[in-house]
């Protein structure tokens, strides 16, 4: 009995050796927790890959605003190399800790990198046991590095700021950041192309709001369906500040890819346009012309969207019919029309359907022009007609650019808010 107890104690002691984690143990104080990775490609160089990463210092994040003169919550490091791994290694020369990528939640990819093709980036992400595939991929114009040098405004650290925008984008169909695995899935699946959100640093207003001239004041009138309700709000705020406007990050639109190469950029309205096809536009605001006074607008909040895409084959010719069913509430109007009658609501419904259809058609034209099937018409065809699709698969991008798509939109305004009658002076 005693012998057994001694043996047990010895065994427990031995277990201690293993509990520490063998060879791969590392203390958290020795780790540099990378939160955002920015990847750039510098064409024409022998070491073209530029990696910049933002490291959070855990104690500072926890400390929050308490410490006055402490270090910045985020520190940036960068390195260049012939491959991403070598670039990371070079960056490591500047660090006092070991680079640890498991906590990276955002990967920002620069314009040149996206144009060059993402094969190496994918390989890097998939092969490493550290990088997590549910971290989000976002793209930018110009260098990705400059996104990280932006000063954060609401959160502690630039990564938290970007993650906040990614979270927020669930309510904003004007942009769509995808986790890396979703993006990769779209790249490798035939009959659809990949896209992910575009993150811009202090973009000129006319880039965020289509149709807005540069000399017009912020908050001026919007055209057509009404553009980026997401990013534009912050602009007005910052322009009132001092002489030097603060840097602003704006997440708007998407970068569209053909295979793994950047094919073009879609602005906020075009992005929402293709999101209608996917039924992902609930909680969007739409401006529709007032049926009685066409120069005035009514704002609708779309509360529910259903989209059905069906392939139709006639004499070997493929076309698609798309049926979109929306429900919405009236949120405001610029005039003082009486909206609360069944006839008026019917008129609003048809105006709304026309606005949505126009937006979808515009987006479809843009996608067809870029030859990127972001909706995945090809995949839908594959699901319904596998044999037919296997013949078309090889040059699907080209087939897609000539595709006929019939769009039918049904709109149902359900509620008109707390206001029943317009508050207008009696005649």
């Amino acid at each position: 009995m005693e012998k057994q107890i001694i043996l047990l104690c010895l065994l427990l002691l031995c277990l201690n050796l293993f509990a520490a984690g063998c060879w791969d143990h590392i203390e958290i104080e020795e780790l540099a927790l990378v939160r955002t990775i920015a990847i750039d490609y510098l064409p024409g160089r022998r070491a073209p890959y530029l990696v910049t990463f933002a490291i959070s210092l855990p104690s500072d994040v926890v400390g929050g605003e308490g410490g006055g003169g402490g270090a910045e919550p985020t520190q940036l490091f960068s390195g260049v190399g012939a491959t991403l791994n070598l670039a990371l290694r070079q960056a490591s020369l500047n660090l006092s800790r070991r680079v640890f990528l498991s906590h990276a939640e955002v990967i920002v990819i620069g314009e040149e990198m996206a144009k060059h093709g993402l094969a190496h980036v994918f390989d890097f992400i998939l092969r490493s046991p550290q990088i997590r595939l549910n971290s989000h991929l976002v793209f930018t114009k110009g260098l990705a590095q400059q996104i990280l040098t932006t000063t954060e405004r609401l959160e502690v650290g630039i990564t938290e700021e970007i993650i906040g925008m990614i979270e927020q984008s669930r309510y904003l169909p004007e942009t769509e950041p995808l986790p890396a695995y979703r993006f990769l899935q779209k790249v490798v699946t035939p009959g659809q192309e990949a896209y992910s959100a575009l993150l811009l640093k202090s973009p000129p207003l006319e880039e965020v709001i289509p149709g807005l001239e540069a000399e017009q004041k912020p908050g001026g009138e919007e055209e057509g369906g009404g553009g980026g309700s997401g990013g534009s709000g912050q602009e007005g705020e910052s322009s009132g500040g001092g002489e030097k406007a603060a840097e602003v990050l704006t997440m708007t639109g998407v970068a569209a890819f053909r295979d793994d190469k950047l094919a073009g950029l879609l602005d906020a309205t075009e992005t929402r346009g293709f999101q209608w096809f996917l039924g992902k536009t609930s909680r969007t605001y739409l401006a529709i012309p007032d049926p009685e006074q066409p120069e005035e607008s009514i704002t609708l909040l779309v509360s529910r969207v259903q989209a059905k895409i069906k392939p139709q084959i006639k004499n070997g010719q493929v076309s698609f019919s798309v049926e979109v069913i929306t429900e919405g509430d009236i949120r405001s109007q610029t005039a003082a029309s009486k909206l609360n009658t069944p006839e008026m609501i019917n008129k609003i419904n048809s105006a709304n359907a026309a606005v949505i259809k126009k937006e979808m058609e515009k987006s479809l034209r843009k996608m067809q022009q870029l030859q990127v099937d972001l909706v995945g018409f090809g995949t839908i065809l594959h699901r319904h007609e596998p044999k037919l699709f296997s013949r078309l698969q090889d040059n699907w991008s080209e087939q897609f650019s000539r595709l006929k798509v019939e769009i039918v939109v049904t709109s149902d305004v359900r509620r008109t808010g707390l206001q029943s009658n317009p508050a207008r002076p009696r005649p």
């Binding site: 063998c22 791969d24 998939l126 046991p129 997590r132 595939l133 695995y181 899935q185 699946t189």
Partner: protein, 370 residues
């Protein structure tokens, strides 16, 4: 004589339920991690059909060894092969199975080590995993079948509930459209994939060894079938979940799709990083599977060499398995190719030899009557 002998070698008894649980773990421990990758590579979105077909082959194997066990009550395959085929030929057949069980141990050890070094601990030498696993297994084989079965009773709760938690949490990532188009596969490739040992529930053959130690051997078939259907059903559901999340084109890209699948789980940014559950399934399951197969091999060797005890052969067999696990494959690609293919030798091992033994039994009975 042989009856007495088997009782001497194994004093414990296990209930039919425990036997079924052992079979579930033997099947699921490795298949959940390895099967999705290559079946989807070969069959696309119809991979789960192969797993269902494999269940059928598993039950066929099971019914053969079950009837053999019923015809020779109280004997393991190592014993009745000697009664049927004569001393030396019978021992040869026994050796083939011992070698097979040992091979399974070696492959499992290697898979375990490779998985751990690839995904979690890249700097730790392979031998750390192999040695610790095998010494643990040797220790539990010393304790006997009953102890392994009882230990498995709580390990199976860990393993199966981990798998269920993973599946449940992943529901938010599912898109059932990825499973379409259904049934677009030809029969021959489907058949070929279903005959790969990992898909074909070959572990049912181990019932030929443990059946005499069941408290109610008559229930072996029912329990074995239930276990096979449950285990392979879980793998099929796992494949469906993977396909629904990733689609057939992305599923084949990661080395261990189920790990990538678990890493993609992120429920409201709070519930994420469940890799540890994959570790639980893998470490606990592999430990039981290694112990179980090492036990089968050791018992077999002890029986065909007419030993009075199982102990002397356990450690040597464990060491052979370790050495074999290192020398068998040079790199992970060789291992992957071997695990995802089938060959006629496997067909004879899990179908041919049991069928032959059954036929010999049947002829003998006829002959004795006539």
């Amino acid at each position: 004589m042989s009856k007495r002998q088997s009782r001497m070698l194994e004093k414990g008894k296990i209930s039919p339920r425990q036997a079924g649980e052992l079979l579930v773990i033997a099947l699921n421990a490795t298949s959940i991690l390895l099967v999705p990758s290559f079946t989807v590579k070969q069959l696309g979105q119809n991979a789960w059909l192969a797993v269902l077909l494999g269940t059928l082959w598993g039950v066929v194997t099971l019914s053969l060894v079950y009837w053999l066990g019923r015809k020779h009550p109280g004997q393991t395959i190592f014993q009745y092969s000697q009664t049927l085929l004569g001393r030396w030929l019978g021992k040869a057949v026994g050796l083939v199975y011992i070698w097979n069980f040992l091979q399974v141990v070696a492959i499992v050890i290697r898979e375990f080590g490779d998985f751990m070094t690839t995904s979690f601990m890249p700097n730790t030498p392979l031998s750390v995993f192999s040695l610790s696993l095998v010494f643990l297994a040797v220790w539990s084989v010393y304790a006997g079948l009953e102890v392994i079965a009882r230990m498995n009773e709580f390990i199976i709760i860990l393993v199966i509930s981990s798998l269920y938690i993973i599946l449940l949490l992943s529901l938010g990532n599912w898109d059932l459209g990825n499973l379409q188009p259904l049934f677009t596969v030809q029969f021959l490739p489907l058949l070929k994939t279903s005959l790969v040992p990992e898909v074909w529930a070959v572990d049912t053959v181990s019932f030929a060894v443990i059946m005499p130690f069941l408290t109610r051997p008559k229930q072996a078939f029912a329990v074995g079938t239930a276990a096979t259907v449950f285990a392979n059903g879980l793998v099929a559901v796992g494949i469906l979940a993977l396909l629904a999340t990733f689609g057939p084109y992305f599923t084949v890209i990661p080395r261990f799709p189920i790990l990538t699948f678990v890493r993609a789980i992120n429920v409201a940014r709070i519930l994420s990083r469940f890799e540890v559950l994959v570790m639980v399934v893998w470490v606990a399951g592999v430990f039981i599977k290694t112990s179980y197969y090492l036990y089968c091999a050791s018992l077999g060797l002890a029986q065909i060499t007419d030993l009075r005890e199982i102990r002397p052969v356990v450690l040597p067999l464990g060491i052979i398995a370790i050495v074999r696990s290192f020398s068998m494959y040079k790199n992970i690609s060789e291992l992957e190719t071997a695990v995802s293919s089938t060959n006629p030798a496997i067909l004879s091992l899990y179908f041919g030899i049991p069928l032959m033994l059954l036929l010999v039994t049947w002829f003998r009975e006829k002959f004795a009557q006539g």
